[in-house]
């Protein structure tokens, strides 16, 4: 056998290995995507049937009474809304601090690191924490406690995206502002923050999407309820908790409602995500 022949055999083998691994990876990818597609399909199949005006206008009732999820949807809107109102300004302030004031300093590095850990810390523990510092002192479960838990989960997400977006603002903007004699506060409030604001709102939308689906922390804070209540100091229903209770119940009617609720919440989260992408695209397209 000549050297060329040996090399040719080796070359063929290397090509075969590469092609085989490529196919293997593709197959793995397709399997993974099929599984994920399957879940969404199940959700639509089982949840779409129950979508009716009743679902939104009627509150939760015992099986057989034609109950809906109205109070849970309103409860979720209230708690997610309050959670965002509390968490967004805080998160933005942290992000601005990291991007504009602390920058690469030691203190800022520690804050950044801790924020990144809070970002993926188990949400169930945030629930336990808020139970101990809000629910126990207040003497009972409340929508306020639920909102605080959601705010603590939204804060690190918003801080992270705010910092990332503000770092994209060209350094020349800051230099120009300072060259005109502006103070740091003026530079941030009049120049860099407005330049980054569209992107920051994108981050807020992502945070809203993230906290709307949170279930575990609400078990320990707002508990859930069957009543139509807008009282912030008492237990309040929420969509994820309603899904959790209904899905683990033995009544078929409740399980169907749980699927419909899961479909609503997933659609909501996906719409928020897509909206944040579109707004991000529009904002970055303008610059």
């Amino acid at each position: 056998m000549t050297i060329q022949a040996i090399n040719h055999a080796r070359y063929i083998r290397r090509r075969v290995v590469s092609a085989f691994m490529t196919v293997l990876c593709s197959v793995a990818a397709v399997i993974g995507l099929i599984f994920l597609g399957l879940i969404l399909w199940t959700l639509v199949e089982k949840g779409a049937a129950g979508l009716s005006p009743n679902l939104f206008t009627h509150s939760m009732k015992t099986p057989g009474q034609g109950g809906g999820l109205g109070n849970a949807i309103v409860g979720s809107l209230i708690q997610v809304g309050m959670g965002t109102l509390l968490g967004a300004p805080l998160g933005m302030a942290v992000g601005v601090y990291l991007a504009e004031v602390g920058r690469e300093g030691r203190f800022a590095s520690v804050v950044r690191f801790v924020n990144d850990i809070l970002l993926s810390a188990p949400s169930v523990l945030v629930g336990l924490f808020v139970y101990q510092i809000v629910v126990v002192p207040m003497g009972g479960f409340s929508a306020i406690a639920g909102s605080i838990a959601l705010a603590l989960l939204a804060m690190p997400v918003i801080a992270r995206t705010t910092e990332d977006i503000m770092k994209l603002v060209p350094e020349a903007y800051r230099e120009g502002s300072k060259a005109l004699g502006a103070r740091d506060s003026t530079t941030v409030l009049k120049v860099t923050l407005p330049a980054a604001f569209g992107g920051i709102l994108t981050g807020v939308l992502l945070a809203v999407a993230r906290i709307s689906g949170e279930t575990a922390p609400l078990i320990f804070t707002s508990l859930g309820s069957f009543n139509w209540s807008e009282n912030l100091t008492s237990a309040m229903a929420s969509l994820p908790i309603a899904i959790y209770r209904y899905a683990s119940s033995p009544y078929e009617e409740w399980v169907d409602l749980a699927w419909s609720g899961a479909l609503i919440i997933t659609l909501g989260v996906l719409v928020l995500n897509i909206a944040s992408r579109i707004s991000h695209f529009l904002v970055s397209g303008r610059q």
């Binding site: 599984f35 990291l98 993926s120 523990l125 804060m155 279930t215």
Partner: protein, 317 residues
């Protein structure tokens, strides 16, 4: 005259100081939150540590009637489901990432990538419901009996009988599969971001040497971004460890050590979510739940810290 504006700017300025103070306080809130969670969880759980000592961590008991608690079943359940999920999800997640960066036709990369990221946003309770109503029955009737038959030759290790036992559908194995499916999009998206950071020049160098696509991946890309790839995996692990809803639906919620992959067991998060409604204020049980929470927080902290360090290292390189 010319120095006047300069001096003016150096003088104490209320707005500027207020601005800095507000931002600084916000940054401090981040640190305080982290510290407070750690302290409150420990503080509320220390009665359990006092009663059972450090042994609480490895005591294999959970008996509310006799008021005896230990963390062993929950810790084992948490670690076993998370690692198994990682073993199942990592190869597929990496496959998706590789396909998205190298193989997939360019016009498809964007949409498929976005689809993967959207799937990562689906609330975990949806994965839990799907696992309970769709996957568990299939597990029970088809997958588990089949695996039992094919893997019957595995010799038991101590009290652990691998793939035997009643195929009830909910348990350690099903929980791991649901967790794997849930963290799959996270791992895929994070790994893709890492693979994309490989300098194009390095890859082109590999191809110019005549390397095949696979050789470029294993010989150039992976060595260049190895640390960050591990970071992406640890990020997935961090998610899996603390996941509550996806696990609670399908783990079976039995507070004992599993004697096979099919046995119902519990994780820290699932015990806390499940037992909390029956735990009275001031009871030893509630303290034990907080102690479990403290353990989970410490474990996740280290896993997530490692993930961030690995990812950050990669970003600097």
């Amino acid at each position: 005259m010319t120095t006047a504006p300069l001096e003016g700017s150096r003088r104490f300025h209320l707005g500027e100081n207020l601005f800095r103070a507000v931002l600084f306080v916000a940054a401090v809130v981040v640190l305080v939150t982290m510290g407070a969670i750690l302290i409150i969880l420990f503080e509320s759980g220390h009665v359990a540590f006092q009663k059972f000592g450090v042994a609480f961590i490895w005591l294999n008991q959970w008996d509310p009637v006799r008021d005896l608690y230990g963390a062993a079943p929950a810790i084992v359940g948490t670690l076993a489901t998370s690692f198994l999920a990682l073993v199942l999800a990592w190869p597929i997640g990496f496959g998706i990432a590789y396909v998205l960066t190298e193989i997939c036709p360019r016009p498809l990369r964007g949409p498929v990538g976005v689809a993967v990221e959207l799937l990562a946003a689906v609330p975990s309770i949806v994965y839990g419901m799907w696992g309970f109503f769709v996957l568990a029955p299939v597990m029970s009737t088809t997958v588990q009996p089949w695996l039992t038959e094919k893997l019957a030759f595995l010799p038991p290790v101590g009290e652990f009988y691998w793939f035997s036992g009643a195929p009830v559908g909910v348990g350690l194995f099903t929980a791991s599969v649901v967790l794997a499916i849930m963290i799959l999009p996270f791992i895929a998206a994070a790994s893709r971001d890492v693979l994309q950071t490989t300098p194009q020049l390095l890859k082109e160098g590999g191809y110019a040497m005549g390397a095949t696509r696979w050789e470029v991946l294993t010989g150039v890309v992976i060595p260049a971004v190895r640390g960050s790839l591990f970071g992406a995996v640890f990020l997935g692990l961090g998610r899996a460890l603390g996941e509550t809803m996806a696990v609670t639906f399908v783990i079976g919620n039995a507070n004992r050590l599993p004697d096979s992959f099919y046995a119902p067991t519990a994780s820290i998060a699932s015990i806390v979510a499940n037992e909390f409604p029956d735990a009275d204020q001031g009871s030893l049980k509630l303290a034990s739940l907080f102690a479990l929470g403290f353990i989970l927080f410490v474990v996740s902290f280290f896993v997530l810290a490692l993930a961030r360090l690995l990812l950050r290292q990669g970003r600097m390189a």
